[in-house]
Each structure stands twice: as C-alpha cells, then as structure tokens.
C-alpha cells in the first residue's frame, strides 16, 4: 500500500534553510491537511518532494514505499505516482494543452493512447471539471483565469491518476461553484484510493474533502499532528495556542520586497531640421 515517508528533511533555497528536519508519514487512504502560517515551509515541502530545482535538499530522506524519491529526476517522481497541483501553475506559450496532456498520458503507458481514446478521456475529464473542451486547444495555462488554471490542474490529476496527489492552495482563485466542482473531483479520487496531501488556509475546502489527518508546520518543522479537530481550532483561534501550549516561538515571515525600478525604453530623437 502506498506510503510516503519523509525523515529529517532539510531544504534550503537561495542559501537560506527553510525546512529544518521535517518528519512526516502519509499512508494509504489518508488525506492529510498541512497547515501553518505563511512562509513556514509548507509549499517548500511539496516542491521538494516533487523535485523543484529551486530547492536544495541538504539532509534527510523521502521514500515512496521502498523507492528513494530523492534519487529520482522530476519526471521519474511523476511516473512513480507523485503529483503536485501547483499554487501558481506555469503558463507555457505555444505548448498546446491537448498535446501536452497526451504526451503526459503516453509516458505512463507502454502502448500510446489512440487519438480517439485520448479525446474521450479528455472530454470526460473536461465535463467533470466544467472546463470548455476548446481550452484543450489553447496554449498551456496561457490566458487562463486563476480558477481555470486550478481546474486544469485537477483535470491533469484525473488524467494522470497519481498514487499521491499534493495540492498546494488549490482553492485560491476558485469561486464557490468551482470550489464545489474541484472538491467533488477530489472526493471521487479519495474513494478510489488516491492519497492526498493538501495545503489550504481555509476550513471551507477541508469541510468539503474531510481530511483524515492534520499536520501543522511551524518554523520549517512539523510541530503538531492529529485529527481534523485541529483544523477547527486553528480556524477559530489561529496559531497562538501552539506558542502558549507547546512553547514554540513562531518566527515572523520576513519577506522583503525586492527593489525594483521602471526603466525607460523608448527613445526620443530630436530630428535635425532644415
């Protein structure tokens, strides 16, 4: 049965350590809600599991059953059954959504899917996600609204059928109807045995998909694990109780805005007169 084991994981980005020894196990039939204040490493954990090259694992292990995830390339991790629905899915100009999806489906199969089979799969998934079928012929995520991008992430999940799906703020940018559509799709996959690791700041999504387990990440470590009641507590009282009850000082998110300048590009030339 699929289980993801994360042990003593340390990750840095731009020479700053973000994850400082994460220990977490996600097992069969689980939906784990990962909570924590902004800037404490939740998205970094998901990105590191998927192998985002911006993040460097300096210590620790990640195993999917007996497979060493850290020894795999990004594409191998995907084909091994890991999937990350990204918070900000990339817009890739010129790469047609349908071509990309077909290629992604085919890398998992010995015999390539026929065009008819593929369009049937895509049509079914598009209807389920309420995405107009024509969007399959547009450039990947280019010009998609925030909600369309998120629904397209779940459409990909449905087509690729991973073992463990990681959802990074899948509910941001979704209106009430779209949230319902996305959560229905997640529930369907939960029933079929897909394991979920879900980041969200809002209890609304969790109410719809009913996580089985909860973990709270503070200062780059998992400091609390338990059942769904933790979600309600955090939703009503925030994270202060962790400080008072566990004596953990919550570091402030010190995101510094980068200095930017707007340059002048146009040149004005004084034409010589007569």
């Amino acid at each position: 049965m699929p289980t993801l084991y994360i042990r003593d994981l340390h990750v840095e980005a731009e020479q700053k350590e973000i994850l400082k020894g994460v220990n977490l196990t996600i097992g069969p039939h689980q939906t784990l809600a990962l909570l924590g204040p902004n800037g404490h490493g939740k998205s970094t954990l998901l990105a590191a599991i998927m192998g985002n090259p911006h993040y460097k694992v300096t210590q620790g292990t990640i195993f999917l059953d007996d497979q060493d995830v850290l020894a795999m390339s990004v594409d191998q991790r995907s084909r091994a059954g890991l999937f990350l629905a990204m918070q900000y899915p990339s817009e890739v100009p010129g790469v047609i959504n349908a071509d990309f999806l077909k290629a992604a489906v085919n890398v998992r199969r010995e015999k390539p899917v026929t065009l008819f089979q593929f369009y049937k799969m895509l049509d079914t998934a598009s209807k389920e996600m309420k995405i107009p079928f024509e969007m399959a012929n547009r450039s990947l995520n280019e010009g998609f609204s925030g909600g369309e991008k998120k629904r397209n992430e779940i459409l990909q999940l449905m087509l690729l059928n991973p073992i463990i799906a990681m959802l990074d703020e899948i509910d941001s940018g979704l209106d009430v109807d779209a949230l319902q559509t996305v959560s229905e799709a997640i529930k369907k996959e939960q029933t079929s045995g897909m394991v979920f690791l879900v980041i969200s700041h809002y209890a609304r999504l969790y109410d719809l998909i009913s996580p089985t387990h909860v973990a709270v990440m503070i200062n780059g470590q998992i400091v609390v694990e338990g059942g769904p009641d933790i979600i309600k507590r955090i939703d009503t009282t925030g994270y202060e109780w962790i400080k008072t009850e566990l004596g953990i000082e919550i570091e402030k998110d010190e995101a510094i805005m980068s200095v930017t300048s707007i340059g002048s590009c146009a040149t004005k030339e004084v034409l010589k007169r007569g």
């Binding site: 192998g51 390339s73 899915p89 790469v95 071509d99 990309f100 290629a103």
Partner: protein, 282 residues
Amino acid sequence: MDRIALLSQHKALKISKNEGSLKVIIGKSESPLFILLDWSQISSTHLDIEITSCQDVDILEIADARDTELTLHVKDGATLNWSTVAFVQGKKTKIHGVLENNASVNVAFADFSLGNEILDALYILKGDHACIDWHLASLAARTDQKNIQVSFDHVGLDTYAMMNNYGVTEDSGSLIFAGTSHIFKGSHHSRTHQNAKIMVFDPQCTAKANPVLKIDENDIEASHAAAVGKVNDDHLFYLCSRGLRHDEAKRLITLGYLNPIMNYFHDEDIKARIATEIEKRV
C-alpha cells in the same frame, strides 16, 4: 486552394520589365486572388509589386538561394496577406513596402533556411489607418549567421504595426533581431508594438534582440519587449512534473516557440512541410 503563378497570364496581372526588375500590378479580380511567388521560377531578382485599391490578395512566397529585392506598394483599401517560407540555403533579402490609406498587410515569415540570412525589411505606413501585422519564426543552427531587421515608419494618422519575432538558436548559430519602429511627428493616434524573443540552447550561440522605438508624437501607443534566454526552468519543471522526460519537455517548449507560425499559413502542403522541417531540426 488554386494558386496562380505571379508571372502567369491572368487578366488581373499586368507585368512589365523595367531596367532589370520586373513590375507586377495586381488589378481587380472578381474572386479573391491566391498567388504563388516561387523565386526559383523567376530569372529576375528584383520585383516591384503593386496591389491596386480595394483588392484582396494572398501571396505565398517560396524563397530561393539568391539575393532578392522586393518593393511592395499597397494602395488605398487593399489587403495583402503575405506568407514566406525559406527552406533552402540562406541569402540576403531586402523588402521595401509602402502602405497607403486603409491598406492592410499581414505577413508570416517562416525562416528555416540553412546558412546565413540577412533580412532587411522596411514598411512605411504612409496612409491614414494603414496597418501591418508581422510574424516571424527563425531557426539558426550549426554555424548559421542570421540577421533579421524589421522596421516600420508610421507617417499617416492612426496607423498600426505589430511585430512578433520568435527565434531559436542552437549549436554555434547566431541570431539577431533588430529594427526600429518610428512614429513620426503628425502620426497621431498611431500604435506600434514590438515583441522579440530568442531561445538559446547552447553556450556557443549568439542571440541579440534589439527592437528600438523612436517616438515623435504624443498621443500614441507604443510598446516593446525583448527576451533572450535559455528554456525557462519553471516551464521545464512544470512539464517534467507531469512525467515528461527532460528532452521531451524541452522539445515541446521549443516547438511551442516555432509552431505558432503555422497558424498564419493556409496552404496545407506548406504547413505540412513547415511542420516536418521544424520536427526535423528541433
């Protein structure tokens, strides 16, 4: 669609010779005109083409290995859809176009030629409301040296120019996109936009994108964007995170750079040939 050769005997075509160059006046036709300009079928290397007022013409140009010079005169209200494919050895091409009142020109240039290529194009939007939409895709590989210069002079009122140059350079290839969009004094309400992007594959490549704006009027709209760089890491990660191998992801992204030029070609045989050429070379 059936095309007629540019120098064929057709009632809408008036051909004359003038000091070594050929002049073709494309006149009135009851049905839309689809014309083939295959340089390998023409002895002269200088062509002067005039599209008469209010005529709609579609010209497909197949480049050959000679240096060529082309003068275009698009009269009032005429529409010219011009598409060029270059597959053979590179060369030097000079284009000088003049657009009169309400003239409209759409250009698609698919450059997959081998070797060196110099393209020097200047379109003068002389008449009021003249507009041009320019799309180019170019690949410089091996030791190809390609210098693409596309310029627009906005002279008339409310003129519009859009330039999209996309390129890929690999091996020791060199690709330079340059050109100036100049809005002259008195060209009120004109709009000009430049977009030049080059994807660089190998450390030995040379790539430069230098679109320049010159603005001499106030109530105008102008923008330019230039980007030169390797394949975007975030794009690669996104595609690989769906299981695509690194090389396949890179190939899809590159095709995404070059393939859109096919949207501007309507001849199925030519589209298939461009697709084959891109697949072969990427």
